[in-house]
């Protein structure tokens, strides 16, 4: 019987009869067909249109200008600043919210009274609408009439300007975003932890491993698919952060929280420069692609058990 040797992306090598392999491929294509149609119509076609439009000028006449808009972007100080601050924001948020999320998931994976209620409560920041979250934090962080500074005064600590200070505003938004994302990452890590059979932990304990050892050698490796997912999604979505700037700070003060997507949205819908906005978007797309690719490569060998 003719055999096909294949190695899938978990690293496992499988020897599969060739008839089965091609049948596999056929089933795969059939199952993927709806996705294929959907993504083509609703993603690839619009994206190609937008890319085509980015090769034109925004001025009257819409002349075809090749990659002028892209070159312009690299000379556009405001866009560059936007991108840099967004990158800083994304990395900080990703690291912090993953650490907090995992930590919470570990704590909540234990059995104790009230864990269900606590789990629900911790998700409330994520479930509340962005407008309310924004308004609430703006009121809390208001340097003159906000509660936080009042508390600091009462405790004797120095007050901060928070959202009025162009050096602090971005970090205030990092804090708010981590606070919102913690619960979300917690749920993902919880789902991942649930997928680790308890009998592995039991077996390790019987073998004499302590908590830290179990964590290092069983939990972390087996959580790898979840961790990879969380980190990729976190980077991608925080690089595209929009709501905080749109609802809370309007990109200020002094453009210190002018997230890249917020900036591009304004270029398109406030300034009316759609072609340039498309070019800016595709440049960011390339950046995200590179970052994601790096993360995927680092995690190439998954684990199967």
């Amino acid at each position: 019987m003719k055999v096909v040797v294949s190695q899938d992306n978990t690293g496992a090598v499988r020897r599969v009869p060739m008839g089965l392999a091609s049948r596999q491929a056929l089933i795969a294509y059939i199952f993927l067909f709806p996705a294929f149609i959907y993504f083509t119509v609703f993603f690839f076609v619009p994206i190609v249109i937008e890319f085509w439009s980015s090769l034109h000028s925004d001025d009257t006449g819409n002349a075809f200008v090749w990659f002028d808009n892209y070159v312009k972007a690299f000379e556009d100080q405001r866009s560059i600043n936007s991108f840099v601050l967004t990158l800083v924001f994304a990395i900080s948020v990703t690291i912090l919210s993953m650490v907090f999320g995992l930590f919470l998931a570990l704590l909540l994976n234990q059995s104790f009274r009230g864990r269900t209620i606590l789990r629900t409560i911790l998700l409330i920041p994520y479930m509340t609408s962005a407008v309310i979250v924004g308004l609430m934090w703006r009121n809390i962080l208001d340097p003159l009439v906000g509660i936080l500074n009042k508390v600091l005064i009462a405790v004797g600590l120095p007050t901060q300007d928070w959202l009025s200070n162009y050096k602090e505003a971005l970090w205030a938004l990092v804090g708010i975003t981590v606070w919102q994302a913690m619960g979300y990452n917690m749920v993902l890590f919880l789902a991942g932890l649930q997928g680790i059979p308890t009998l592995y932990q039991e077996a390790a304990k019987i073998d004499g491993a302590n908590a830290w050892g179990r964590f290092r050698h069983i939990t972390i490796p087996l959580l790898a698919p979840t961790t990879l997912f969380v980190s990729i999604i976190s980077v991608i979505s925080s690089l595209q952060a929009f709501a905080q700037a749109f609802i809370i700070t309007n990109g200020g003060p002094a453009e210190s929280t002018r997230f890249y997507v917020f900036h591009v949205f304004n270029v398109a819908f406030s300034e009316g420069k759609f072609a340039y906005a498309s070019a800016l978007t595709f440049l960011m797309f390339l950046a995200i692609l590179v970052l994601t690719f790096i993360q995927l490569r680092v995690n190439r060998n998954g684990v199967e058990y």
């Binding site: 996705a35 619009p46 059995s111 606590l118 911790l122 979300y184 087996l222 058990y305």
Partner: protein
């Protein structure tokens, strides 16, 4: 799930840490409810009012009358509900393929799909809008729903959770003569219940809170969703925060219910029995 502590002495520390975080986390909910009970004058006041002196429970009745709130609620429910169901059907199917099948171009397709996550929505918005106009689907449920039937996020999530499942499960089912779709429905899906619950919850929340697309697609007040409907309470230079908060509280409840409902899928660990 551990029946005992993560490490010796973990329990009291757990309670402490979680207690503090829970307090931090519950702030917006409390704030929202307090805000919803304020009088309009209090929302204008210079110093933020913490405890309203004269709680206006009537605000909750007012919102149903000031705008067709019930209709907004229904629209949001239909749109988010159908989208979520669609995701729960199609995303795991594609995720399964990427996790467990080998075929040419697999990685290319996967990266293409993953790539769609990297383009912010508003970039596709105008061509999509023209498309909907061309189909005659503006201001309709189809127009609100079809751009969101599947997502790379969901497919990626499903792939990650299906990947660790052993091939033996699938091979065994094939040997038993099960159909491919049967394997998917009866073997794979039950194994990833926590992931499905997560996907369902997140998808619903995301589309419950969707603003930009309903803004441009909907042309009449009756077809507005909650998010675009709530902005009716915003005046030009000041917002009627008490109504926005009351509306947001009402918006919040289905999400809470949905979360409580999906709780049980997060509960048990998966013990793979009978397979060594």
């Amino acid at each position: 799930m551990f029946k005992e502590s993560l490490f010796p002495g973990a329990k009291p520390l757990t309670y402490l840490i979680l207690g503090i975080l829970a307090l931090l986390a519950i702030m917006p909910f409390i704030y929202m409810v307090l805000l919803s009970l304020q009088t309009e004058a209090e929302t204008f006041a210079g110093d933020p009012v913490l405890i309203p002196s004269d709680p206006q429970f009537g605000n909750y009745l007012d919102i149903w009358q000031k705008a067709p709130f019930a209709r907004f609620f229904l629209n949001s429910a239909i749109v988010a509900g159908v989208i979520t169901l669609s995701h729960l059907f199609f995303d795991p199917l594609a995720g399964y393929v990427f996790a467990k099948f080998q075929f040419r171009f697999k990685n290319v397709f996967f990266l293409l799909i993953l790539g769609t996550l990297m383009i912010p929505f508003f970039v596709r918005m105008i061509p999509l809008y023209s498309m909907m106009a061309g189909f005659g689907w503006l201001n309709t449920y189809q127009g609100l729903i079809t751009p969101f039937l599947m997502s790379a996020y969901g497919i990626f999530l499903m792939r990650q959770f299906i990947q660790p499942l052993p091939f033996e499960l699938i091979d065994a089912a094939r040997i038993d003569g099960s159909s491919e779709f049967g394997i998917y429905a009866r073997i794979i899906l039950p194994q990833i219940k926590p992931a499905l619950a997560t996907l369902g919850l997140f998808t619903f929340v995301t589309h419950w809170d969707e603003f930009l697309w309903p803004l441009i697609v909907v042309n009449t007040t009756e077809m507005r969703t909650m998010t675009t409907g709530l902005t009716l309470f915003n005046q030009e230079y000041y917002n009627q925060w008490q109504y926005m908060a009351a509306g947001s509280t009402v918006l919040f409840i289905p999400i809470l219910l949905l979360f409580l409902f999906t709780q049980r899928y997060f509960v048990e660990g998966i013990a793979l029995t009978g397979l060594k």
